[in-house]
Symmetry: C2
Subunit: 324 residues, 2 copies
């Protein structure tokens, strides 16, 4: 019988908390010559683990405690990074809700396979509104923020690979984004782990009191139709693997099915000793360019045919503990 435990992939990154990356490269550098002439023009890349191990400290940035949320679930902590520049009204409202402990005691209300996990107040839709949780001093009506006027030169590192959903794609301050240079607009994209603001059919009905995270193949058609506010940087598996709900669209039908939320806190409001000390690779760094290219053109013993292309949502977004 053949060895099957190392099947599919050979090695994980030594500091393998990069759960959002769609799997680690084999650790061995390329040794085998290209089998197909057509691929011989693709430049060789070093293995991703080697690139990260050799990266300068300055290519990493710690998460900003003022933009970082901790969702505490019975199974552990989910760490989320908010992007203030893309939906500032929603960013402010979510921070207000969090600081007033709005989410504490609420729940995951929906798990829709290959799509989203959503959390908020299970009683939101109850006819008897008195059961719904008060939003305190947070706003109950906000203007839509589906795109933002982002200066391309300052906050956009382009990914040159073609994208069908946007004129250009790339990265802005650590987030995968779409970009329309003619319109001077950018927006956060619905890649795996993206966090968005649930809304009703009408524009302007989202407040941040109910949020969702993408847990399947990127539904990029949602881009520019709903406000995206951040992404999960650690602990996505605590959300993505909750049982799917039995009702239409993955809603749960009773409290016994729902995963309760113990609390959501701003990292800045948590004692320093209890914070998750994480740093993320700067998306405008040379190391990020190198890791992206290593994934675009995989040269190792496993991959006989490197893709020569990388789709935006397949670009790894490295995260690691900060060395003490």
């Amino acid at each position: 019988m053949t060895l099957l435990r190392p099947a599919l992939l050979v090695a994980a990154l030594a500091f393998a908390i990069v759960q959002l990356a769609s799997a680690a490269d084999p650790a061995k550098p390329a040794a085998k010559p290209e089998a197909k002439p057509a691929e011989s023009t693709i430049p060789k890349s070093k293995a991703m683990a080697d690139i990260l191990a050799a990266s300068p400290k300055s290519d990493w940035r710690p998460l900003d405690p003022n933009n970082t949320l901790y969702m505490e679930l019975p199974a552990g902590r989910v760490v989320m990074e908010l992007a203030p520049a893309f939906a500032p009204l929603h960013y402010d409202n979510i921070r207000t809700l969090v600081r007033e402990h709005y989410f504490d005691g609420l729940a995951i209300i929906r798990s829709h396979d290959n799509y989203v996990v959503q959390w908020g107040d299970p009683n939101d839709d109850d006819k008897d509104k008195s059961k719904a949780k008060s939003m305190g001093s947070a706003k109950t009506k906000l203007a839509s923020e589906f795109t933002a006027p982002i200066s391309a030169d300052k906050h956009f590192t382009r990914l040159n690979d073609f994208d069908g959903y946007a004129p250009e794609v790339g990265f802005s301050d650590g987030f995968p984004v779409g970009h329309d240079p003619k319109a001077g607009q950018a927006w956060l994209t619905h890649c795996y782990g993206a966090i968005g603001v649930a809304r009703g059919t009408e524009e302007g009905t989202g407040t941040g009191s109910s949020l969702y995270v993408i847990i399947g193949h990127a539904p990029r058609h949602l881009d520019r139709n709903i406000a995206v506010v951040g992404r999960v940087v650690q602990g996505i598996e605590l959300l993505s693997a909750v049982p799917r709900g039995p009702a239409p669209m993955g809603f749960y039908e009773n409290s016994g099915e729902r995963t309760p939320i113990k609390s959501i806190r701003l990292a800045a409001d948590v004692p320093a000793a209890e914070r998750s000390q994480l740093e993320v690779l700067r998306t405008d760094s040379a190391t990020f360019q190198a890791t992206t290219d290593a994934r675009r053109n995989r040269h190792d013993d496993f991959y006989l045919r490197p893709a020569g292309y990388i789709e935006l949502c397949n670009v790894p977004m490295p995260v690691r503990p900060i060395a003490p």
Copy 2:
């Protein structure tokens, strides 16, 4: 407080077993004029549910019991369709393994977030090979089948949307495929729900005794590097939501963590009364073209900006119970 239960999406299909589709369209037809001039050139489409409801019976085909597998888990049945044309040696070997009850009593051995769930013999990698399950009359060594010589005119319906991972993409007999017309080759793609043959680093080490299913953003860089043999058509949520494994690459560390496999059976070997009576939309039908276009250009009250594009792995693959 705004209505948040209908957030994100308004209605599910009436016969909503299409779990692999990345969410249903709102049921209401487009009523609102386009807000942006740039989108006014996109042709309007009917809602997907309306298209399916009006589809002729001849646009659907029942699953072939000889190409259909039932994986029985404690939580229920996963229905998988095999594609005989793309990896015939592996197809034969998997059928042999199934008919000799190889998988019965084995387990899900790995759940790697945003990547794969894999099943097989947990003892495969044990130094004491005597603990590994015998593969019976199945072959233990097969030639690689990463691409197949598929006649484009007969078995390929092209999707005209750009794809970065293949010269052309489209559908062949119900499966999303890549196609290289110059090489005269096609291959099954790693979309969500695709089933592949785990292998080691060396080519030719996969036998079908360990299989994986894609449970995250499509890792299309695996295309043409590993044999894909089919896809899950119902019950994917029984695989995608199993707890992620704690060891590197999502492996479980002990039997208590693993989900046991009660059995895997060929539908043809199951009494007719116990079969899952399902039919799938023919991918070479006019209805399939119409549903794909409805998703490419969403015109309804929720979507303010239709994408005008659809990525291969976002194309819905409708499945429904056969009406008695």
